[in-house]
């Protein structure tokens, strides 16, 4: 009895130790880049690197923000992300609802097609699209890029919204229909309010995905770059302070987003994978 008790405690302590180690593993690099971003410019270059900036300074960060094109490309990133997240939901949620509620011929094929698009990297899509966009005069436009991001986010949106809607019991909609609603009204008054958290989470996911997207952004834009495209295109010439502060700046929305999303994370993933 005692031995089992001891090994139980060791087990718990051991697990805690591993957990703490992993937490540090995840957080440390973020902390380090933050240290860099809040050092002076000179502080970025010094060696050996301190674990805490001396002095704490906004110089590096401001240097980054005020660099040519940063504010504009940040704005571009936001516009592209917002447009693509709205479009993705507008196009994807109806499809997700169709998959969840209706049994129709071809639904399995459609679902398979949607799932298999994951195998299509933006690497293969971007080049031909660039050629097409040039032909059609749509090149170097953040609106065209928003369309591409929408398409990239679409399969995920369809699958996620499908499982969110499937999670709302169908008889709630039927009850609404017996109480005076038609199909659309029942959807708006009953299904939508209950699906809203999941839909909101999917939308935020899309925002972050678009914000982070780098390959098609850098291929399809030249002068109207998004932030990641701007940073990566100048990687070989940009100074360290620029890069480090840029990295932190890119991570900020993601960190905030994760704060909101964690509750829904596993519900969403779990249902999609079934």
């Amino acid at each position: 009895m005692k031995k089992a008790h001891v090994s139980r405690i060791l087990g718990r302590t051991g697990t805690y130790a591993i957990a703490i180690l992993l937490v540090m593993w995840v957080l440390l690099p973020i902390y380090l880049i933050a240290v860099m971003s809040f050092s002076t410019k000179a502080g970025v270059y010094i060696f050996p690197k301190p674990l805490f900036p001396k002095p704490v300074s906004a110089e590096t960060f401001l240097f980054f923000i005020n660099s040519t094109g940063v504010l504009k490309s940040t704005l571009n990133s936001v516009i592209v992300a917002v447009i693509s997240m709205i479009l993705a939901i507008l196009v994807g949620a109806p499809a997700g609802y169709a998959l969840a509620r209706f049994v129709f011929r071809g639904s399995d094929l459609y679902r398979l097609a949607v799932i298999s698009t994951r195998a299509f990297p933006s690497v293969i899509l971007s080049i031909p699209l660039a050629v097409t966009f040039i032909q059609w005069g749509m090149y170097d436009s953040i609106f065209s890029l928003a369309l591409v991001h929408t398409a990239i986010n679409l399969p995920f949106t369809v699958l996620i919204t499908s499982s969110v809607f499937a999670g709302v019991p169908k008889d709630l909609e039927e009850a609404a229909q017996t109480l005076g609603c038609n199909g659309a009204t029942a959807f708006v008054r009953v299904t939508l309010p209950l699906a809203l958290p999941g839909l909101a989470a999917a939308t935020l996911f899309n925002f972050v995905g678009s914000w982070n997207e780098v390959f098609s952004s850098v291929i399809l834009t030249v002068r109207n770059r998004t932030l990641p495209a701007l940073i990566i295109a100048s990687l070989n010439v940009s100074p360290l302070p620029y890069r480090f502060a840029g990295a932190l700046f890119m991570m900020l929305p993601s960190l905030v987003f994760m704060l909101f999303i964690r509750r829904y994370l596993f519900n969403l993933w779990g249902r999609v994978l079934k």
């Binding site: 129709f104 293969i124 080049i127 390959f215 070989n236």
Partner: protein, 288 residues
């Protein structure tokens, strides 16, 4: 029967916009990509583009490095993700906090992750700082130069493992949560050790999740781009970065498309391999 018709056509109307998007932005570009790769810059059909791609001095290194990264990263990530997933499953106090932290890298971009680890591995970076402070080296070691391909690969690996293990972990955790507690408790009652539980019970029951994770992970790995750019610049060639280079620097859309087509073919091949290797017999699956 007008109502029936409206009812029957509704689902098709609902999926129509998405089908349009998929056609325009997935099906069409894919066909175009292959078409571009089978023509040369003047538009003449033939294998010239592929020949150019394959005989380019950076081709084999790019292919090799991409595959090496893929092959090494998978076991490392899966082990790490499994450990993370088991930690979460242990349902210690603060499991929610751990979950949140472990999932943070999910939302971090390739590029940011690359720069972050660049800051660690660079000459004046943190790794050198600590190695010197620990007295292991007397002057900064140049990790990130084309002379030490191994270190470059290692650095990119670290960045990728750090960033994208979370995706695998999420998949494994959802899979784990769908394993009924009773199975694990029964294993305990029958005296299974942790290792036995994991290898004989959890891993087999997780097969569908592992399959999904493997496919996704491999596909993403074949597309590695920004991480390597941030850490190694032009010293490391990868399939995706070559595609970028041929497009931007050489203005050769054909070769760039050819690289894209190659990535797609490799992705599909590997997915098919995983699906056939890890085929679960239906009778072995859990009765839901």
């Amino acid at each position: 029967m007008k109502r029936v018709f409206v009812k029957q056509s509704t689902p098709y109307l609902l999926i129509l916009p998405s089908i349009l998007f998929l056609m325009i932005f997935f099906a069409y570009p894919t066909v175009e990509a292959f078409s571009l790769s089978l023509r040369n810059q003047a538009g003449v059909w033939g294998w010239e583009t592929f020949r150019t791609m394959v005989t380019d001095v950076a081709f084999w290194p790019a292919l090799k490095t991409t595959l090496i990264l893929t092959v090494i990263i998978i076991p490392v990530q899966f082990t790490l993700a499994m450990i993370m997933a088991l930690v979460i499953q242990a349902k210690l106090k603060g499991a929610g906090f751990f979950l949140y932290i472990f999932s943070i890298p999910l939302a971090i971009s390739e590029l940011a992750a690359g720069i972050v680890w660049f800051a660690i591995f660079t000459n004046s970076g943190f790794l050198n700082t600590w190695l010197m402070q620990l007295g292991l080296i007397s002057k900064p070691f140049i990790f990130l130069s084309y002379q030490y391909m191994g270190w470059l690969i290692f650095a990119v690996l670290m960045a990728e493992v750090w960033r994208s293990t979370a995706i695998v972990m999420v998949i494994l955790v959802s899979g784990l949560q769908s394993i009924p507690k009773d199975y694990l408790e029964a294993a305990d009652v029958f005296g299974a050790s942790l290792w036995q539980k994991v290898s004989r019970l959890i891993v087999p029951l997780l097969r569908p999740s592992i399959q999904v994770a493997l496919i996704l992970r491999t596909i993403f790995s074949l597309q590695v781009f920004a991480v390597a750019m941030a850490i190694a610049g032009r010293a490391m060639s990868l399939l995706a970065s070559e595609s970028y280079r041929w497009y931007i620097a050489y203005r050769n859309t054909n070769v760039a498309a050819a690289y894209g087509a190659l990535v797609l073919v490799l992705s599909i091949l590997s997915s098919l391999i995983y699906i056939s290797l890890l085929r679960t017999k239906p009778e072995q699956e859990m009765a839901v």
